[in-house]
């Protein structure tokens, strides 16, 4: 792993965003729409349900912000690869002295930056528009957010691996993969509200523990160490598996000439 290589690969993406600021719209526009829709739904529900479930309801706003951290991190990783496909730059990058680790770490950095931009923006707007303060969780927020970021990276690597393996036809996976797991991940509702079979699945998904932990944290102000530990442990496994998948797919791609096919298409 070489610092200057990672720096160069990150720089390539930063140039991209400064060159074509319209890309920033995507970082701001969709998350903002989500926040407005879920925010006003929350306002409406609060008015009509009295005080019975206030925490679960305001948590919808928190869930929007946190889901976006996961989603932007995943997209940072997956779109990074697609940018090279779209600009026919893939061979230049993979014929350069760039290791898998260099490449992956720079996608993580981009994923992190994307998530940081969106989540900060949303967190501030949530305070302004709905007096919802995610930062009430103080420092205990950080390990939760970090876990979301890491899970986003894992999903990003899985998306990229699928795109490398199945070609540009699989491009839509870059957007779809996080939504495969969203129903099981208890983003907007507690795990307990799911049917037992789905609850069983959801316990194996790192981010369901994060969302569950966040809900508890916002309700009682107590950090759910148990959820955090589960999420961290699962995340380590997912990250390792996703990294392994990526490396394996790159090896297959070299055997089958898949990287050169991207150029031809």
């Amino acid at each position: 792993m070489t610092f200057s290589t990672i720096q160069a690969l990150v720089l390539r993406n930063l140039y991209l965003y400064t060159r074509t600021p319209v890309r920033l719209v995507e970082l701001v526009f969709w998350p903002l729409v989500d926040l407005l829709v879920w925010g006003y739904l929350t306002v409406f529900l609060q008015k009509h349900t009295g005080d019975s479930f206030p925490y679960q309801i305001t948590f919808l706003i928190g869930a929007v912000i946190l889901w976006d951290i996961l989603f932007r991190a995943q997209q940072g990783v997956a779109l990074y690869f697609l940018e090279d496909v779209w600009s026919r730059n893939l061979l230049n990058v993979f014929s350069a002295p760039v290791t898998n680790a260099d490449y992956l770490v720079s996608t993580y950095v981009i994923g992190f930056l994307r998530a940081a931009v969106t989540s900060l923006l949303l967190a501030v707007l949530a305070i302004v528009l709905y007096s919802f303060n995610l930062f009430e969780l103080n420092w205990s927020l950080l390990p939760f957010v970090f876990n979301l970021l890491v899970f986003g990276w894992s999903l990003g690597m899985i998306s990229t691996a699928l795109i490398v393996r199945w070609g540009p036809a699989a491009e839509t996976l870059a957007w779809a993969v996080p939504f495969f797991i969203q129903p099981f991940a208890a983003v907007y509702y507690p795990v307990a509200s799911l049917p037992p079979a789905i609850q069983w699945i959801s316990q194996w998904i790192p981010c369901s523990h994060i969302f569950e932990g966040m809900r508890d944290g916002l309700k009682d102000g107590v950090v759910s160490w148990n959820d955090l530990a589960m999420a961290t442990g699962l995340n380590a496994v997912y990250l390792a598996l996703a990294g392994w998948l990526f490396v394996r797919v790159m090896r297959t791609a070299r055997e089958k000439g898949l990287l050169t096919k991207f150029v031809a298409q």
Partner: protein, 257 residues
Amino acid sequence: MASPVLEATDLVKDFGAVRPVDNISFELRRGEILGLLGANGAGKTTAINMILGIVTPTSGTIRVFGKDLARERIAILRRMNFCSTYTQLPGNLRVWQNLTVFGKIYRVPNLKRRIDEVLDLLEIRHLKDRVSGHLSAGESTRLNLCKALLNKPELLLLDEPTASLDPDIADKVRTVTKRIREEDGTSILYTSHNMRDVEEVCDRVVFMHKGRILFTGTAAEILSHSNEQSLESLFIRVARGGEIESGEGKGEPDATT
């Protein structure tokens, strides 16, 4: 004699049932410009991609700078570079931004100065602030070449570098190719369909047909074995499946017969 910069031994590549490279062996000597000649689909690009490590050989070995490519790919890639008409640099970045990114990847010292040098060499310094995607095909080929020269590669792979160029610029590219060999001692593997390129630039030629090597040698040696007046007519006869006695310059036995 010094050990060759590039040594390909018994290279085979299978893509499923297709065998674009069928047991080829050749070497590129230090400071040599070796032409890889052959009709469409002969396997030239596949061979180049194997040397770049983008495609792994089904069997056979590639040694570059005396090292095994399969084991020391990254260390080898640092000392080489490549330019192909099939790839582009990101069109949404400016020329200087693209060269900065690749300069950093290749750890080029004094990068700013080196960027100006290569832009001057290819006579496109005036395009430095332009958006790469707005360049004409010929300009963008020259930008690709700039990227390929940034790290003063000891081994340079050029896949049809003159394919989209007008005669004037193609001539300049040939001149630059010869010049970097003279000045930096760069060893160059050069694929082309343009016989003019091959005759003017290459010291020796590897003539491929359907994944195999038909001839290796200087243009004159190859012609003397083939009863043809020019490489061009030989090329056309081979491409149309004419009977060719294969032979090899310098009396070496041919790898394929």
